[in-house]
C-alpha cells in the first residue's frame, strides 16, 4: 500500500548523499593518516591511493588484470549460483536426500577453502579455473541454503492450488517454487557477488600470474600499501557495478510484488 510514509528524497539527492558519504570517508581517512593517528604504512593515504588508481587506469596496465579477475568472478558467480539453485531445489524437493546429506553439506561448507588451494591447483592448474573453483565453493553454499529455505517457504495453499490445477513437478518448479523462492535467491545473490569476487581475489593471492589479487599480493610483498589499497578500491568499484546489475534483474523479475512494504514509518 502506498502509505503516508515520509517521502524519500529523489534519485539525485540520494546520489548526492552517497557521494557525500564517500567524500566524508576519504576525508576522515586523509585526516587520520595525515595526523599519523593511523599509520600511513598500514593505511596508505587517500591521495596516493587515488593517484595510483588513476595512473593505473590511465596507463592501461590494470585492464588486463581486472579483466581476468572479472572473468573469474563472473564464472564463479554463475557456476556457483546455478549449482546452488539446482541443488537447493533438488534437496528441498527430495526430503530423503536432504536428510541424509544434510550434515555433509554443512561440513563441507565449514572447510577452510584456503587449505584446499593446493588440491584445486592440482586438479585445475594455476590458470583461472582454480580461482573459479574457490569462488564457486563460497558462492554455492550461500545460494544453496537460501534456495533450500526459499522452497520450503512456499505458501502451502498456493502450492496445493497449483497441484490441483494439474501442475507436474516441472511445472511446479517453474510456476511455483522458482518465482516464490526468487526473493530468497536474490537475497543470497547480493552476498554471493561479493564472495565470488573474494574467491577470485584470494585464489589469485594464493598463487597466480595475473589478476587483481596477484597485483595486491605483489604490492604487499614490497610493502606497497598504496598499491594494496588501490587494488581494493578497483575491486570494490566493480563489485558495486556487478551488484547493480543483479539489482536491476531483481527489480524486473520481482515486479509483481506490492511496492512500499518497507515499513513505511510515519
Amino acid at each position: 500500500m502506498r502509505s503516508h510514509a515520509k517521502r524519500l528524497p529523489g534519485r539525485p539527492v540520494i546520489l548526492l548523499l552517497q557521494l557525500g558519504v564517500l567524500i566524508a570517508f576519504f576525508l576522515i581517512w586523509h585526516v587520520l593518516t595525515d595526523t599519523k593517528i593511523l599509520s600511513p604504512f598500514f593505511f596508505g593515504t587517500p591521495g596516493a591511493v587515488l593517484a595510483r588508481t588513476w595512473a593505473d587506469f590511465a596507463s592501461g596496465v590494470i585492464w588486463y588484470h581486472l579483466g581476468i579477475t572479472l572473468l573469474e568472478t563472473a564464472l564463479a558467480f554463475v557456476i556457483g549460483t546455478v549449482a546452488g539453485i539446482a541443488f537447493g531445489f533438488w534437496f528441498a524437493r527430495a526430503p530423503l536426500v536432504s536428510l541424509v546429506f544434510d550434515p555433509y553439506i554443512k561440513a563441507v561448507n565449514a572447510l577452510p577453502r584456503v587449505v584446499l588451494a593446493p588440491i584445486f591447483a592440482l586438479w585445475l592448474g594455476l590458470g583461472i579455473w582454480s580461482k573459479v573453483a574457490l569462488g564457486v565453493t563460497l558462492v554455492f553454499f550461500i545460494v544453496f541454503f537460501n534456495v533450500y529455505q526459499g522452497v520450503k517457504e512456499v505458501s502451502p495453499v498456493v502450492l496445493a492450488n497449483a497441484r490441483m490445477l494439474g501442475a507436474s513437478s516441472r511445472d511446479l518448479f517453474r510456476h511455483v517454487y522458482l518465482p516464490s523462492a526468487l526473493s530468497w535467491v536474490f537475497s543470497s545473490l547480493h552476498t554471493a557477488v561479493g564472495f565470488a569476487m573474494v574467491g577470485a581475489v584470494v585464489g589469485e593471492y594464493l598463487g597466480s600470474a595475473a589478476g587483481l589479487g596477484y597485483r595486491i599480493h605483489q604490492a604487499e610483498g614490497v610493502f606497497d600499501t598504496v598499491g594494496v589499497f588501490s587494488g581494493m578500491l578497483v575491486l570494490t568499484i566493480f563489485v558495486v557495478l556487478i551488484d547493480a546489475a543483479v539489482t536491476m534483474i531483481e527489480k524486473r523479475l520481482l515486479h509483481w510484488r506490492p511496492q512500499d512494504t518497507s515499513g513505511g514509518q510515519h
Binding site: S39, F41, F42, A117, P118, I119, A121, L122, G125, L126, G127, L206, G207, S208, A209, Y214, H217, Q218, A219, E220, G221, V222, F223, D224
Partner: protein, 318 residues
C-alpha cells in the same frame, strides 16, 4: 644474571616449519629461551611480509625474517635493525621442471613460465637478478606465484610451469621425486657467490630500534639465545637435529626431512655474525628490483649490528 627489562616476548615468523627458520624452532626446543629467563610466544604467519607487518604494527616484539626487510623498511621510513644472522645463504634454488622439459639452462628461461613462491618475494627477486645478469629483462619470463607448499609441488607435477624458484622442503621433495633438475643452488657457498657475488644474508633476527633502546638487556639475551643455537647447530649432526625437532615436523616423511636438512645445512650461519659484503649484495639486488629501495639512499650500517653477537660470542665461546 642481570634482570631483563621484558621477559614476555612475542616472536613472529612467516612459516615456522620451513628449514629457513630452523634455528628458531631449535632454540625453542633446546630450551635456550627458558634458560635465558625469556618467556616467548611464537606466532606463525602465512609469509614473511605478514610477520614484518605484525612487528611494525606493534603486535610482535621481534621477528625472525629475511634480511631484505631491514633494507626495504628503511626505504619506507620504518627503521628496523637486525641483531643476529641465522642464515648466510638464501637457500633459494632455481630448477627446471622435467615434465615440461622446455628449460635446459638459465638461458632458456626467456618466454617461459617460472613459478616463484609469491610475486614480489625474494624468490622473485632472485629470478629477476639472474635474468638481468644474463642480459635479459625481468619481463622476459612470466612469473607465476605457486606458494611454498604442496601447491608448488602440484604445479610441478602438472608441468604447468617450465621452471621453479623455490626453497626447501619443496625443492628436496621435488628432487626426491625426480621431477626437477637444479640449475642454480644458493644453498651452497658456491651457488650463492655465482648468483649474487657475495654471501647474501637470509634469515635474521630483527626488531625496531626503539625496542633495543628500551630493552638492551633483553635484546642481548635474545641474541645470546640465537648465537648459542647457531653454535650448537654448527656442531650438530643430522641425527642430533632430528632428535631435538618436534615429531610433527617429519610426520610427512622423515627421510625427506633429513635429506632437506642436509641440503640446507651449509646455509646456516656458523656464529650469527653479519658481513658487510653480504649486506652489499642484498642492497644491490633490491636496488635493481624494488622501486622504493632504488629511489632512496640506504644506510646499511643502520640495518644491522654485530654489537650483540660479538658480546655474546665473547661470553659463549669461552
Amino acid at each position: 644474571q642481570q634482570t631483563l627489562e621484558k621477559t614476555d616476548i612475542k616472536i613472529a615468523v612467516g612459516g615456522k616449519p620451513l628449514l629457513y627458520y630452523l634455528p628458531l624452532t631449535l632454540a625453542e626446543r633446546l630450551g635456550y629461551f627458558k634458560e635465558a629467563g625469556l618467556n616467548v610466544e611464537v606466532s606463525d604467519f602465512g609469509g614473511g611480509a605478514k610477520s614484518l607487518q605484525a612487528l611494525v604494527g606493534g603486535s610482535a616484539d621481534v621477528v625472525t625474517g629475511a634480511y631484505d626487510h631491514t633494507i626495504q623498511m628503511q626505504a619506507k621510513g620504518q627503521p628496523i635493525v637486525a641483531v643476529a644472522q641465522l642464515g648466510r645463504y638464501p637457500g633459494i634454488v632455481l630448477a627446471a621442471v622435467n615434465k615440461s622439459g622446455a628449460v635446459k639452462s638459465v638461458q632458456d628461461l626467456k618466454g617461459k613460465k617460472v613459478g616463484v613462491t609469491a610475486p614480489g618475494s625474494s624468490t622473485n627477486f632472485m629470478l629477476n637478478y639472474v635474468l638481468t645478469s644474463m642480459g635479459m629483462k625481468p619481463e622476459d619470463a612470466s612469473v607465476i606465484g605457486v606458494g611454498g607448499g604442496p601447491s608448488a609441488i602440484a604445479a610441478i607435477k602438472r608441468g604447468e610451469i617450465d621452471a621453479i624458484v623455490n626453497l626447501d622442503p619443496v625443492i628436496s621433495q621435488a628432487q626426491a621425486d625426480g621431477d626437477i633438475t637444479v640449475l642454480l643452488d644458493t644453498r651452497t657457498e658456491k651457488g650463492t657467490m655465482d648468483v649474487y657475488g657475495g654471501p647474501y644474508p637470509a634469515a635474521v633476527l630483527y626488531m625496531k630500534p626503539d625496542f633495543i633502546k628500551e630493552n638492551p638487556k633483553t635484546t642481548q639475551a635474545l641474541t645470546d639465545v640465537f648465537v648459542r643455537t647457531m653454535l650448537w647447530l654448527n656442531k650438530a649432526s643430522t641425527d642430533d637435529v632430528l632428535k631435538v625437532m618436534p615429531e610433527e615436523y617429519f610426520l610427512g616423511n622423515k627421510s625427506l626431512y633429513a635429506q632437506a636438512f642436509e641440503h640446507s645445512k651449509p646455509t646456516y650461519s656458523p656464529d650469527g655474525r653479519f658481513t658487510q659484503v653480504g649486506a652489499d649484495a642484498a642492497l644491490k639486488v633490491l636496488k635493481a628490483f624494488d622501486p622504493a629501495v632504488a629511489s632512496t639512499s640506504i644506510d646499511l650500517s643502520k640495518t644491522y649490528t654485530n654489537q650483540y653477537v660479538e658480546d655474546a660470542l665473547k661470553r659463549l665461546q669461552k
